[in-house]
């Protein structure tokens, strides 16, 4: 694999973001339907069937691809919406579905064998053995690797696995094994795995007490910001807590992933695709980030050093990090 052939997979929460991503140089846009079948089930976001049909036409006319994320875990009482999402993806001609649930993978493999199946990061397959299971049982073509691996683990998995690998290079950073976290559910009663939202806005409250802004999720204080401190959204694992007598960002600092400098290493490792997180982001953000990542991939392809174009203003908490890829993160 060279950087020239690496695929840049970009998020879209709206038709406008899809067009912006394609125009800014996305090879592929990934998106979800407007319901609990995907892990960014936010109000006002995502695609109807008609939106998807038009989005596919826009992307395909320009030689780009569209993937559909159906990456939550179907309700036991009614898995209809998940199955119909897979059926409609096949009927509309999406280029791949991104799935996490074993039962749904089995359904897709049995009913739509010709539809490419990618393993979602929500399956948190972190070892070649896990990928082997999904390849053998469900014939997946690609796996999106968890954001908890080091670069050397990404290399080892890519070398050993019988499938393409895709890694995150930019956007939100999840410190837990994805798809296996009930923290938000514990505090709010809404499961990210089944409802598709982590730390939902409906359960967030900001209170001003004296000069302090208190950010709460459900009944719990997730962070406090003194006057002058820039406040952040109370995503549970990015909160400040007290443990062992110290008040710290115990799980993860309020930072975003920016792994642009690692793109040549990913290319050399044989990683097939690079992914940008952020289907919840607006069109302007998508355009700028996709453009910057396009430049970074093109620079790597021609052996030039990565651009130092600052994207930090767009990042959560204003800071970029190479996250778990960096040695010592653990």
């Amino acid at each position: 694999m060279t950087a020239a052939t690496m695929e840049l997979v970009c998020p879209a929460g709206t038709p406008a973001a899809l067009e912006a991503a394609v125009d800014a140089g996305a090879d592929t846009v990934y998106l979800g339907f407007r319901d609990a079948t995907n892990a960014r089930n936010f109000p006002g976001l995502n695609f109807s069937r008609d939106d998807l049909r038009r989005g596919l036409a826009y992307a395909h006319a320009r030689g780009r691809k569209v993937y559909l994320a159906i990456n939550t875990f179907p309700h036991v009482a009614d898995d209809g919406p998940w199955r119909s999402a897979v059926d409609d993806a096949a009927a509309l001609g999406v280029d791949a579905v991104i799935l996490a649930d074993i039962g749904l993978l089995a359904y897709a493999a049995a009913h739509h064998p010709a539809l490419r199946r990618h393993l979602s990061v929500q399956a948190s397959a972190a070892h070649p053995l896990a990928l082997e299971y999904y390849v053998r049982e469900f014939g997946i073509s690609r796996a999106v690797l968890p954001r908890v691996l080091t670069v050397s683990q990404v290399k080892a998995i890519t070398a050993e696995a019988r499938v393409e690998t895709e890694v995150f290079v930019y956007g939100g950073l999840c410190p837990m094994a994805e798809g296996r976290c009930a923290l938000s559910s514990y505090a709010t009663g809404r499961s990210p795995n089944t409802f598709g939202v982590c730390s939902p806005a409906s359960h967030v409250q900001y209170l001003t007490i004296d000069d302090t802004l208190v950010a709460r999720l459900g009944d719990f204080t997730i962070n406090r910001f003194a006057a002058g401190e820039s406040p952040g959204y109370p995503t549970l694992c990015k909160g400040r807590f007290e443990a062992g007598g110290r008040q710290t960002y115990l799980f993860e600092d309020p930072v975003s992933l920016d792994a642009r400098p690692l793109i040549p290493e990913f290319a050399a490792a044989g990683v097939r695709a690079l992914k940008i997180e952020g289907r919840q982001r607006g069109r302007a953000y998508v355009a700028q980030v996709v453009g910057a990542l396009r430049s970074a991939v093109d620079a790597a392809a021609s052996g030039r050093p990565a651009s130092s174009q600052a994207l930090t203003a767009l990042s959560e908490g204003g800071q970029g990090t190479s996250g778990a890829y960096r040695k010592g993160w653990r």
Binding site: F73, P74, H75, V76, A77, D79, A100, D101, I102, G103, L104, A106, Y107, A123, A125, A126, H127, L129, A130, E132, Y133, Y134, R136, E137, P146, V148, L149, Q153, P175, M176, A177, R180, C181, A182, L183, S185, Y186, A187, T188, G189, S191, N193, T194, G218, D219, F220, T221, N223, C237, R240, F241, E242, A243, G244, R246, L250, F251, G328, W329, R330
Partner: protein, 295 residues
């Protein structure tokens, strides 16, 4: 069919002799039918308890208990795989998968699936059963309705955690060493300092979570004692107690008493409250609410 009480794997890093004595006492005194052993949180801890496995297994089996070998909750590197392979190499045991990676090796032979694998619906449970899963412990956040529908399947047998901190998340990052300002590679076994987990409080000083190495659990102890009747009615016949630093033998007796209809659930509940002291109990997940709640 008689309800089965299972003791889930011991999750914390205790001195090895305390770990051994804990299981000896379970073998001798606890009215549980099935006991899971195995280090599922951190492979660095395993060398301490492994030398005691043989004696613990022998004692448990001599007491007529089934021994299940639990395997890592997150399989990332070869040390995790080595623990898995160690369990597979032992003949005559049911092995419990807690990461899909384990299924790559276990499929095709009878095995158990633990609560760390996402079994949210019937299609998944049926698929796991087809691959040899004879029992599945469901994820802790599943509400009653889901548990009941899964329990209605002819296979696999459904097991439900009914006591102990809810395991909420697992990571490649060790929060225990991070909290102690150490790196994961030079952790000096920070997790050994907190035999029931490291309390994680909000900035208001409210107890919220507990950290156990790479694992994050609820601060509250989950307790579905009052729900045992409903669970049994829905067809669940396996009930899991997750070890905490409380009198697990006494606790098992209380659950056993309720399951055998010898002890009213309310009476047992009050005894559990006395046993666990100041630690709050929760059952919200089962009732479709915030997991932290007591409904």
């Amino acid at each position: 069919m008689k309800p089965v009480l299972t003791l889930g794997p011991h999750l914390y890093h205790w001195p090895a002799d305390e770990w051994r004595d804990f299981y000896f006492r379970i073998a001798d005194e606890a009215p549980v039918e099935s006991v899971c052993i195995g280090e599922i949180i951190c492979p660095k801890r395993a060398p301490f308890t492994l030398p005691h496995h043989e004696a613990v297994i022998a004692r448990l089996r001599a007491a007529g208990k089934e021994v299940v070998l639990s395997t890592p909750a997150l399989i990332v590197d070869d040390r995790d795989v080595a623990l898995l392979q160690g369990a597979l190499a032992m003949e005559g045991f049911l092995v419990e998968a807690n990461d899909v990676a384990a299924l790559a090796l276990l499929s095709g032979q009878p095995h158990a699936v633990g609560p760390y694998v996402n079994t949210y619906n019937r299609a998944t449970a049926v698929r796991l059963a087809a691959g040899g899963a004879v029992r599945v412990t469901v994820p802790v956040e599943l509400p009653a309705e889901s548990v009941s529908l899964l329990a209605g399947l002819p296979a696999p047998d459904i097991e439900v955690q009914v006591f102990g901190r809810w395991p909420l998340a697992v990571s490649a990052r060790c929060y225990h060493s991070r909290a102690y300002g150490r790196s994961k590679d030079a952790c000096l076994y920070a997790c050994g300092e907190d035999p029931d987990g490291l309390p994680v409080d909000t900035l208001d000083g409210e107890h919220f979570l507990a950290v156990n190495g790479v694992q994050t659990l609820s601060s509250s102890y989950g307790c579905l004692l009052r729900e045992l009747g409903r669970l049994r009615q829905s067809g669940v016949r396996r009930f899991r107690l997750s070890p905490q630093r409380t009198d697990m033998v006494e606790l098992a007796k209380l659950y056993r008493g309720v399951l055998d209809d010898r002890l009213p659930a309310e009476e047992a509940w009050m005894s559990v409250e006395r046993l666990v002291g100041p630690i709050p109990l929760s059952n919200g997940f089962f009732h479709g609410r915030e997991g932290v709640r007591l409904v």
